[in-house]
Subunit: 519 residues, 2 copies
């Protein structure tokens, strides 16, 4: 193990006091000791600390607690004190398009002090990324949309600190992971070229910045680490996810997928990493169906159907009366409709088997999932044939993307040792259901590992492990980005994947078995 | 030669515009090209530039002029533009205790645009270093004394820019060399421990700072390089002097001496550098004599005495009526008094030979250099026996320091190939006179090279050569500092040197010859 790599950002350093024979200056004495401790050639020192250092050293008897950080391999000494019970904190942020999660971490014990989450305040000027990029390009738009996120963060930082009994001034480090556009808006950079061919971000690997520079109210000398991106469509949240999964240190080749409207995929091991991103369509997140919505109380997140009786078992979040369905519920629903024979291998509703649940609305077939008498909306909660078609296209796109990236390096999907599912949405998906409809490959269930909020997880690692910060740069620089060309081969794969679970049933032996048992 | 080392801080870079196949972000595209150009692993980028970069790149057709700098080996991209006739300037500063000199340099052509000099405004609160350090240690003193120098610089920068037809905002780089205490006061660091045993500066090697941070009004993103020091008594002005002399790249061993109240000496070659500093006493600068003063109009800077007739030839600055004598004049005077036999080898006035020029004032013998009828003060300009004694002690101290450092590495003083005399005062000394009194060793006259304002010269090099900035760190880190212990050996050497030119006349063969010819 390389020297100094495995300690945290706070280190206790004991110096030999100066003498006539050893009259090195205060700052150089301390950075010299740190260079030894950290095994590095340079340690920069925060100017504000320089002014206070002579007194700190003499009052502490030359035994100090140092707060450090690193910028692209270069160490920086931020602050030093005599060491007391005062908490030295860091804040990890998952900068979601929809929602932000903040985690406050004790940089000494490396324990979580508290968490808070809130809706991205930029929703008020643009519901999605595209709308926000256009908003930012208007006169004064960039300043306004940047202000929204900064103010939102400052308010919530203050609240979180209050809950944890510390002050924002106790926060010295801040790490943030988000997609490329959100990261740009956070920095106040205009993302206009991200959505214009050839889709160029302002920056891939931002330098570490002072919190003050970005308007974030922490300790005045606090630093902000912004996770780098690979391009306009592969953001820092994914880099954080890779870091969190440990994919980049794995002996066996594994895959990491962030399932959503965009499917972001990373394949690799400790020797190489390959990434791609493609549109899977909003259907996977329940975004197409009339009854589709984001997870929340009363939202259906799990569905099962007894294959013989076709009796539905509906689970809602917090067991409230159902008001709609979220992505994971929709995947469950589709899987169980297929396994119970209520839809065929093309995703068509089987009228005979669906029986009384079928309704005709404006000439389109709908399946009633929850009748109006049982729903909180006083209306049937239904899924239409069009919704099912859309879902099938989305799951086919997802599978095609997975097949394309693995085959590009000559790997068969079903041979993967580990399948990481990243993101909050991913953590709710039942892999059995996703396999049943052929959205994810037919691996043993225990090959699937949900990472939860891996963006927040990665951001947190940057605060608890110095080694992680080096890894971030390494991950970014080692990834080969595979541009997904929608060519004939891709279309052939896509067509074959537009069946439940797949045209080639031998790819899904476990589904074939379940299906045959039940039909 | 290492790649990119010999260009200046302004570089023209042509980029390959982005395509769908090469969608590297704007910032990373530019820093990537710079990494190649500079042969370096990291190039940080100024955040302010990041915001403007997409437009700059697209409007310039991806051909940009980059303004760079370096911080302890790490490159930083400060600004970029499409390249026009606008002057991009740097400012080199010699931060003297008494006087400051500012040199404005065109960073592209590397030519000097103009110079300005002014008295150190801190004189108003403390005439010398010691007084200023005490002043800074009082309540509010540090802020006040720092304000004086910063305001003085800002005012003179504005004046100099006005004279040269540019704006302070056109200045991107600022390099400053001064002694350790002055450098501390410039940065607003309390130098209190510099004068207290064991004499510890706050910092030896300051990081590059933003001009804004230090209150210097240049371009908002301008950077300041502060020359590092070796200790409390060996400052950045000397490091600048070494850089300027090229001592650190010399094949032959040479010596560099800054003659003044403190004698600072560096001995070495491209393989090693050894430094020491010691008090030579104020006599060398004319600071003891009643008639002594700093160089200025009417001040005697050159003296010769016809050895047979003892007729004095007095030269004054600007040929004004004499008002006093400066250090170089005093050394000339002492040398010619000795060579003409008007003082003996112990520096005693030879009454017979001095004849009518001797006056008795309060029981002490004085030699009249300029009679009252010829002086601008309407009084005799005289030098007393006590003044001469003091001068002899000072020159003996200087020679002893030189002997100590050379003998510490087994070198004989008279074998040195090159003797650099640094500093403004040094540039006025006639080495023949200095040799005659045994202040400097008896080398061939052409071995002596006056560097003039080598502090300003070194500071200027930092603005015109990227390589120089690396050298500064190398010089600082490679110097071995020799602590001058006033032990028996030192005292023996000192006693032997308290004769004109020296007890051991064989050390000064040229003087022996001159003296014998004339006496």
């Amino acid at each position: 193990m390389e020297k100094g790599k495995n300690g945290g950002w706070v280190r206790n350093i004991e110096l030999i006091p100066p003498t006539l024979q050893d009259n090195t200056a205060d700052a150089d004495r301390l950075t010299g000791a740190l260079k030894k401790e950290l095994g590095t050639e340079f340690v920069d020192i925060e100017f504000d600390l320089l002014k206070r250092l002579p007194q700190i050293l003499r009052e502490s008897g030359y035994r100090v607690r140092c707060i450090l950080f690193k910028q692209h391999g270069r160490w920086l000494l931020l602050d030093a004190d005599a060491g007391d019970d005062r908490i030295i904190a860091g804040l990890a942020v998952d900068l979601g398009t929809t929602r932000l999660v903040l985690r406050l971490i004790d940089l000494v014990s490396k324990k979580t002090l508290g968490e808070i989450s809130f809706d991205n305040p930029q929703i008020s000027v643009g519901p999605d990324i595209l709308a926000r990029i256009h908003f930012a390009d208007q006169e004064g738009g960039l300043e306004k949309i940047n202000r929204l996120i900064i103010d939102g963060l400052n308010k919530n930082i203050e609240n979180l600190c209050g809950e944890c009994g510390i002050r924002p001034a106790d926060i010295y480090l801040f790490s943030i992971a988000g997609n490329t556009a959100m990261t740009h808006l956070f920095m106040g950079l205009n993302p206009r070229w991200i959505i214009r061919e050839p889709y160029i971000p302002v920056v891939n690997s931002p330098d570490v910045k002072k919190a003050l520079t970005l308007g974030i109210k922490l300790n005045p000398i606090a630093r902000i680490l912004i996770f780098p991106n690979i391009g306009s469509y592969f953001g820092g949240d994914l880099i954080a996810g890779i870091l969190f999964s440990g994919l980049n240190k794995s002996d066996d080749t594994a895959i990491l997928v962030d399932v959503g409207t965009n499917a972001e995929v990373v394949l690799g091991n400790k020797n190489w990493l390959m990434a791609c991103a493609g549109a899977a369509g909003p259907a996977l997140e329940g975004g197409v169906t009339k009854m589709g919505m984001m997870a929340g109380p009363g939202v259906i997140d799990k569905v099962s159907i007894e294959p013989d009786s076709c009796i539905f078992h509906i689970h809602t979040i917090e067991n409230k009366t159902p008001i709609g369905i979220c992505g994971s519920g929709l995947i469950d629903l589709a899987a169980h409709l297929f396994l119970s024979g209520m839809v065929d291998i093309r995703g068509r509703l089987m009228l005979a088997r669906c029986n009384k649940r079928i309704k005709d609305i404006n000439g389109i077939k709908h399946l009633v999932v929850v009748p109006e008498t049982e729903s909180a909306t006083n209306a049937d909660l239904t899924i239409s044939q069009a919704d099912l078609d859309s879902l099938v296209r989305s799951k086919a796109a997802m599978y095609t993307i997975l097949e394309t990236i693995t085959s590009s390096v000559g790997i068969v999907l079903n041979e993967l040792s580990r399948f990481y599912v990243a993101g909050t949405f991913g953590s709710f998906i039942d892999p059995r259901s996703a396999i049943s409809i052929g959205m994810l490959p037919d691996l043993p269930i225990d090959a699937y590992l949900s990472l939860g909020n891996s963006s927040l997880g990665g951001a947190s690692m940057a605060l608890t492990s110095c080694e992680s910060v080096d890894e971030i740069d390494k991950i970014r620089d080692s990834i080969t980005y595979l541009e997904l060309n929608v060519n004939q081969e891709f279309m052939n794969r896509f067509s074959a994947a537009k069946f439940l679970p797949h045209t080639n049933k031998s790819l899904f032996p476990s589904v074939k078995q379940m299906h045959q048992e039940r039909i």
